[in-house]
Each structure stands twice: as C-alpha cells, then as structure tokens.
Symmetry: C2
Subunit: 528 residues, 2 copies
C-alpha cells in the first residue's frame, strides 16, 4: 500500500487529490491522503461578495470531502514536515494525540501566508483579506462601525468611523474596495443618522495606476469607474503602519479610520521556510516534472512552488488557474512514477485575467481581447460560476445572485472574532485530565477541587508525585518546553479548571514579569 500525502487544502492541494482520484480510481494499493486546516476549499475570487452578503456566507467554500470522496481527509494543522524520515506531523484534535503520517509520495501545496512584519500596528489593527474568516470579520467591522456612527455625536469620531481604507490596488484590493464601497453606501441607507456624504472609502496604491496586472486601458477604465462610484484613489501612496483609529502613510500623513484592510503582504509559509531544500524567492524550486531535485518522491505545487514554464522558461505566476493545471500535471507524474511511464513537463499560458468592480461592472483580458463594463461582468460571473467546484455550490451561488438583484443587502452582524483562548473545564472525580506522553497545548489552573499528578515508574506502576488544590497550576512544563506531557493529571474530587492555551500563555506570561518569575521558579522547583 503506497500513500500519497498532500499537505495544504488550497487549489493546488485539492486539485491534486481530484486529479489523482480520477487517475488512480479505486486502486486498493494506493491511498490518497490530504491534510488541510479547514475542511473546505475557499474559492477566493468570490470572497469580496461575502462582504456585501450578495452570496451566502458558506457559498464561497466547498467541502473537500464532497469534492474528493475517495481521499482520506485529515482536518488538522501541519506542524512539521520531516523529509529525512518521510513523515508529516499534524496537531492533535479533541484528544491529545498528535497525528503522524508517513508517506511514499509527498505533495507540498502550502501556498503562502499573510504577513504584516515590519509594518508597526498592522498585526494589531489591520484586517487581512485572504480567508473566509477575514471576509466575515470585515463585513462585521463595517456593520459595527455603521452602528456606532449612528450613535456617535462627536464629529471627529464619526469621521474615523465612516472612513474605510483598503491598501493595495492589485486584483484583490480592487475587488475588495469595490464591494466594500457598494455595500457601505447601500447599507448606510438603513442608518437614520448617517448621511451619505459622510462616508469615505479610500484605496491606497503604491504605484501610478491600479491593477498593474492588466493592460493600461483596462486599468484606467477601472480607476475611472471606481472614482465615479465614490472611491477615493490615492496613487503613489504607501501604508506605513496603523493604530486603532488611523492608517499611517509613508511620509507622515494619517487617515483617521476604524477600518483598514490590507491586501498587500504575503510571505512564505513558515513550514516551507523551514524545509531544507533549494528555494527561490521563498518558493520551493522544482524541476520541470514538478519534483524536488534532491528529494525523490517529494513534489511541490501552487503558490509555494517555484516552477519554470517548460515552453517559455518563465516562472509561473501564483494564480489559481496555474495551480489547477500544475496539480493535474503533478498527479499524472506521480502516477507515472508509481506505474511506470513517461512524465510530463509543465507548461501553460493563462487564458486571461479578470477583476470584478461590483455593481454589474468588471474588467477582463481574455485571449488577448480587452473587455470592460457589463459584458466583462457577465463574463466574470459566468466563468467563475463554471469554475466553482461542485454542482450544489453552482446552484446555490446562481440563486444567490438572482436574489441579490431583487433584495436589499443584509445588515445582520454575526460576531466571529477570535482571540486567545482561555476556557473553563469540569471533571468528575477520578477522571484523566491529560496523560503522560500526550501533547500539551494547555496550562491548567485549579479553581475548585483536587488534582493528582502521577508518573509511570518502571517496576512500581503509577506513582503520585503531588496533589494540587485551588489556585495551583499544572501542565506548564509542556508549554514552555514544547515537549510531550511528562506526567498524568487526574481529578481526585469534582474539579473545575481554567485552561489557558499556548498563545494566551505566551502572550501573558512572557510579558508580565511577576508571572514569568513565578513560572520560572515553579518549573525549576518541579524539575528538580
């Protein structure tokens, strides 16, 4: 039994699984496994429409299980890729057991990540725009600021609340600002004390013309259209940083705002950065068969791979179109490797580019033709509807779009913020809280009851090391040392606990010296 393991649930990863399913069929000798953080594939081109609610919240995403019914899906986060031992380690789920997966073939499809490093305040106050959660968070922020503006008497505060800034004039920034602008202006009509002329939507772009991916005439069309709709375009302007109530520009200017979206920065996935293989601009260098030259059986696809087109010798751009074609080529080459046969070289020239401008308008360049306005919009919808994976999704989105022509935009604010995690837990007497050897992701504080800490000693069985009562904590060693649990914790009586996760622990305990001192002493004492 050979296992083909794909890490990453974006276009590259999911389409590799899809193509493999078609080629391998139900061959009992081959297992296709996919590790993905989410159980769905996000269809990014439609994310901006989540802002306005013009398509349903879950309709931009497709469940991977339904797309790839013959693939074993592991909904987990990858923690480590060990190319020496042919093994991938993923996080634990409900239980505390990590998930170790060996492979015969490995496909790295980890894409890239949003990174605000080097721009002060962006991590804290800017909204990224890459995943479904980001689009939902932005939608909520917009509704929240409108709610607040409706109540706010102070003129300066109102100005900040009613100013919306998007940084980055590429495809994703332009599509986001177009939808944002349409939505804010339509939604504001339901707010009695918000006047249309108070709303300001600003697009920041570092160069002299937006949409550098498109021909000049189309970019100019898009620019004029957005301006006509009330978007203020600031060209040759760079974002320096952010605070809670302002976007800070390079040069010192500040724009008072409570809503700053940054679509610009992307960085290599840290897992890719740690791989001991050759890279170019942070992307994994593969040969023309999409294979890593120094690691047989390891492949890379999509945004995280540095692929030179076999026909032109040019590097492939990080787009979904390319990822899908690369995935098909890669799947065929893996099967050639397994069953024997010639491998294919990858080559593909993009069919076209298009961007939606909201409000029944778009720009497109298809097979060299330039199209703008309603026709481009119609084309955009049609193409993306065809590409959207899954028939049920196609039907749902088509219905949403039809309703959207008739109904006013939605105003409900669904709260989805997620910070660090601290939660409460309850145990009845004599239950295991965690077991020696488990992976530890939580620190526990006893609120009520008694907890026994024990260890398995060879020859003596389980030996109780200590018992803990209210106000005492345990589990800290695994959090600071990154090792597995060194002992077992068990409730002696009915126990209430406070569980603090790794991120919250690190944020609090590395920044508050009395806490740091307390934990350092505690750990030193216990390890003696």
């Amino acid at each position: 039994m050979k296992r083909i393991l794909i890490v990453g649930g974006g276009f590259g990863g999911v389409y590799t699984a899809l193509a493999l399913e078609k080629l391998v069929g139900r061959d009992p000798g081959v297992e296709i496994a996919l590790v993905s953080k989410e159980n769905y594939l996000t269809f990014q081109p439609m994310l901006p429409e989540v802002i306005s609610g013009s398509i349903g919240i879950v309709d931009t995403i497709s469940p991977i299980r339904r797309l790839c019914p013959n693939t074993n899906l592991y909904t987990r986060t990858v923690e480590k890729i060990d190319l020496e031992r042919n093994r991938v380690i993923a996080t634990a789920g409900f239980g505390s057991r990590q998930c170790e997966l060996d492979y015969d073939h490995l496909v790295v499809a980890l894409g890239n990540v949003t990174s605000f490093a080097g721009q002060p305040g962006l991590t804290e106050h800017a909204l990224p725009f890459k995943y479904l959660g980001d689009a939902l968070a932005l939608r909520n922020r917009v509704i929240h600021t409108l709610e607040e503006a409706d109540l706010e008497p102070d003129a300066e505060m109102r100005r900040a609340l009613l100013t919306f800034v998007v940084a980055g004039g590429g495809f994703s920034g332009v599509e986001a600002v177009a939808e944002l602008n349409d939505f804010v202006r339509a939604a504001a009509k339901s707010f009695r004390r918000v006047r249309p002329d108070e709303i300001r939507v600003v697009l920041l772009h570092a160069q002299g013309l937006i949409l550098p991916e498109l021909p000049r005439s189309l970019a100019e069309f898009a620019q004029r259209l957005l301006m006509k709709r009330g978007v203020e375009i600031r060209l040759n302007t760079r974002l320096h940083g952010a605070t809670m109530d302002a976007a800070l520009l390079v040069g010192g200017e500040r724009i008072a705002t409570r809503t700053l979206v940054s679509t610009v920065p992307s960085a290599p996935n840290p897992l890719v950065a740690m791989l001991p293989c050759k890279k170019e601009k942070g992307r994994i260098v593969v040969n023309r068969h999409l294979q890593l030259p120094d690691f047989p059986g390891v492949w890379a696809v999509g945004d995280c791979a540095w692929i030179l087109d076999a026909a032109t010798g040019e590097p492939c751009p990080p787009t979904a179109q390319h990822a899908i074609r690369e995935a098909r080529c890669l799947a065929a080459n893996i099967v050639a490797d397994l069953r024997g046969g010639a491998k294919k070289e990858f080559s593909f020239s993009a069919l076209g580019k298009m961007g939606s401008l909201g409000h029944r308008s778009a720009v497109a360049e298809v097979f060299g033709l330039k199209i703008s306005g309603f026709l481009a919009w119609w084309l955009w919808r049609t193409v993306y509807l065809m590409k959207l994976p899954g028939l049920d999704r196609k039907i749902r989105v088509a219905t949403d779009w039809t309703l959207d022509l008739l109904l006013p935009p939605d105003l409900v604010q669904l709260k989805t913020d997620k910070g660090f995690a601290i939660r409460r837990e309850h145990f009845e007497p004599n239950e295991v809280i965690f077991r020696e050897g488990d992976r530890g992701d939580w620190l526990y504080v006893v609120v009520e009851g008694e907890v026994a800490i024990s260890r398995d000693v060879p020859g003596q069985g389980e030996v109780t090391l200590r018992t803990l009562g209210p106000g005492e904590c345990f589990g800290e060693i695994a959090l600071v040392s990154d090792q597995a649990r060194s002992a077992t914790a068990r409730s002696r009586s009915s126990v209430n606990l406070l569980a603090v996760d790794r991120d919250a622990f690190q944020a609090l305990f590395t920044n508050l010296p009395p806490l740091r001192g307390f934990f350092e002493q505690l750990i030193a004492g216990r390890s003696r």
Copy 2:
C-alpha cells in the same frame, strides 16, 4: 419631545417598536428608541434548521433597522435600569463612553436567560440552544466530531464522538434533536470511516412522555416517529451534570459523548432580578394594561412579564405568539397615555401549537384540531414563513427550502467559538490610550515602549503621575473597582500593548494566587 425607550430586542421589544411606529407615525414629538444587544431579531422557531444548514445562516434573523425604520436603535448591552431617575445605562461601544438614556416611558422586554446554575459541568461543557450563535456552535461541533471520528482509531473515543445527547423533551429540545438526527445521519455519508450504525442520538426527558405542551396522541406520534428515525428516547431521565466527555445522569449513569445540548434551563434576566418591583416566579407583575402598578410610565412585555389574561385570569405563557399580541396592546396603551384615550386590557387565546420533527414531518394542534405528519409539516412551514418578519427574509427562506429539497446538506465548519478576550494593540507616540472618566473594561500590559499616566489636577492642568515600561501594567483599578478610569494613559513612544478584558482578568487573576497577590499590592501601592 417624549422618549419611549424599549429595552430588549426579542419579539416583545421589536413588536412594541413596530406597533408604536404604526400608531405614532412620524410624530416629531415622540421618539421611539430600542436598546438591543444584537442588531437583529432572532426567529427562534427556525433555529433548529441552522444545524442542518437547510436554511441560510442569517435567514433566521431579521435586521431590526429594516423592520423598524423609524426607531432609533442602540446596539448595546443594558447595564443598569434606574427606575428612580428614569434612566437606562448601556455599555460603551468603540469609544469608552457609556450610553445614558433618559425616558418618559420605559418598556421592559428583556426575556429570560439560559442558566446552568446548580448543574456541575454544564456551564463548561453543555451547549445551550437559544440564540443564533448557539445553533452555529452546535452545527460546528457536530461537524468537528464527525471529522475527528473519521480519524480516530480508539473504539471508546469513537463511541463518545459519535454520540449526540439532547436534554429536554419540550418543543425546543424535540425540534433540535430531530434536525440534529437528520443532519448527523446525512452528513456522515461523506465521512469514509464513519459507519451509520456507530451513530447514536439520544434525547433525555424528565417525564414519561415528550412534548408535554401537546395532547397525548400527538406527543405519542412524535415519540414513535423520532424512534423510527433512530433517536433513542430516554424517558423519566434527568441530567445531573457534564464533563468534557460525558453526560452525567441523576442516579449515576454516564453517557460518553462530546456533544451535549441542554434546552431546559431558563432563569430571569439578572437585570430584571435587580429591579425593585413586585415579581412572581421571577417575572415582573403588571396590571391588565401591562403597566407596573408602582412605577407610572413603566411597562413590561413578553417572557419577563407576569401577565394575567383579562378573560381567563390565567398567567400568559412565555411564547412568541403571546409576546407579539402583548406588544400590540402595550403600544396602544402607551399612545392612549400620551394622547389621552381609554386603555385596553390584554387577553388572547393561542391559535395553536406546532413542532417540527424534521424530514417533512411535524405535529400541530390548531384551533383544537390535531394534525400530524406531512400535512402538519406543510402547515408549520407555511405559518412560520408568513410570520417571518420582512419580505426579503420570506423570499430567502422560501428559496432555501426549495433548494434544500434538491441539494445535499452542507459540511463546512465555520469556526465561531468565542472565549475570553485578550488582544494586542498598537499606539504611535503621544496618543491617548484611555482618558480619565472613561469606563474601563480592559487591563493593559506594556509589551514595548513607554506609557505615561496623568491626571487633571485643578489649577495645575495635567500632571504626570508615573511612566511605565515593558512588563508593567495599568488600568487595573477600573477593573477591580468597577469605577471609571481614574487617570489618563498616553503613549510616550511607539507602544505595543496586551489588552485583557474584564472576564479574562477575573478568571485568571482571581484564581491564580501569585497574580492576585501581585495585583492587590499594586493597587494598594497606587491608591496610596
């Protein structure tokens, strides 16, 4: 200008505003104001359908602004009702200013709240089922457990993951268990390693027959139907408590499960409990005009009001049907008070009762007729569709229902858990972090940079009390004393902070003695 202030955004509150808008029209001498925690009205009867995704996530809720366009909506949480001074105090929004609202007429429509007090472990581990967020959380939990079960090799763990327990056999429990059962069994088909016979759905009910609100024959029909669909009904069984992986029954039995839903407990809203007026079973006693006898100008409506029907003398049940009729009577009586005229006495006999059993079946008792099966289900859908407020919602739900007949259920897991809040903030030099007199909801820890604490001293202007650097914290006094900020905090340099909210602060700092000691010393030192 007279202000009619409604507190509470459920059926009672929103329908009072609706009725007032119709009666008062655009009279410039009357302001209708509504304070609600959410900016939408939740249509509870359809919540169970959110579990299966058979209607869109936001389609069970209607934006209040659109329902009541002439009402001033305050999307805030009520903190205090001061009947002596005719004033309501609500929380601050983005800024730190509390919101104080005076009133001429006050309508208390605060409903009741879920309370797990007295049942160990339920607060920590049971899922309530009252708000939209609860339905979403349950949906996510079900998908998450299926994801985990698909990967889990351990037989005992699998059993707990694939067991789903609902406590409470009244309307909401039965509707929830019916949808849950349908959804789990349909969704499990997409999980390759979950067998249908491994799934167990259990309904716990304290009495001998479910649906005590309905005639015996209908309840028996519902019970037989649920059992036929695979729901295990445990009669005369009470829930005692819960742990992370089990539901604990009175008598000592434990059912291993990771998904426990409790629809039983409701308690008076704490704000109602604190009101210095006459109450009966925790509900506010009103006269037949729905007015508080001892507080002129104060009214109560819905689940939080103790109303005796003028015709029968019986207390009105806490249902949406009644709340809507009470709201109309109440609105007419307020207008009679304002403009002169006779007040109406409240009387209403319910038209009927119905409960959905999922899968195109329901039970109903309407005008004394008993109906069950498909006809009842069709009636249920039609009646609720008519009652659903807002034409756009009616269209969306009707469309969803149509699609649902054709398409498979959705599997995507949207993560929405929200725990305590700890977040990061960034300030540029010389910005105000908070101001003396603001309301304080956060404790700050300096991660980087310098913060100055100052106070306005009469005659001397602003005086700097101290400056703080990395590892030091501020803002703790407002959190422990519940008072406004006693000083102003300003960034001296570029500053990064960690902000800890009141709940997280209290959970951590009251339970960890070294921290408690540290903060007690800090506060004692500073207040000297």
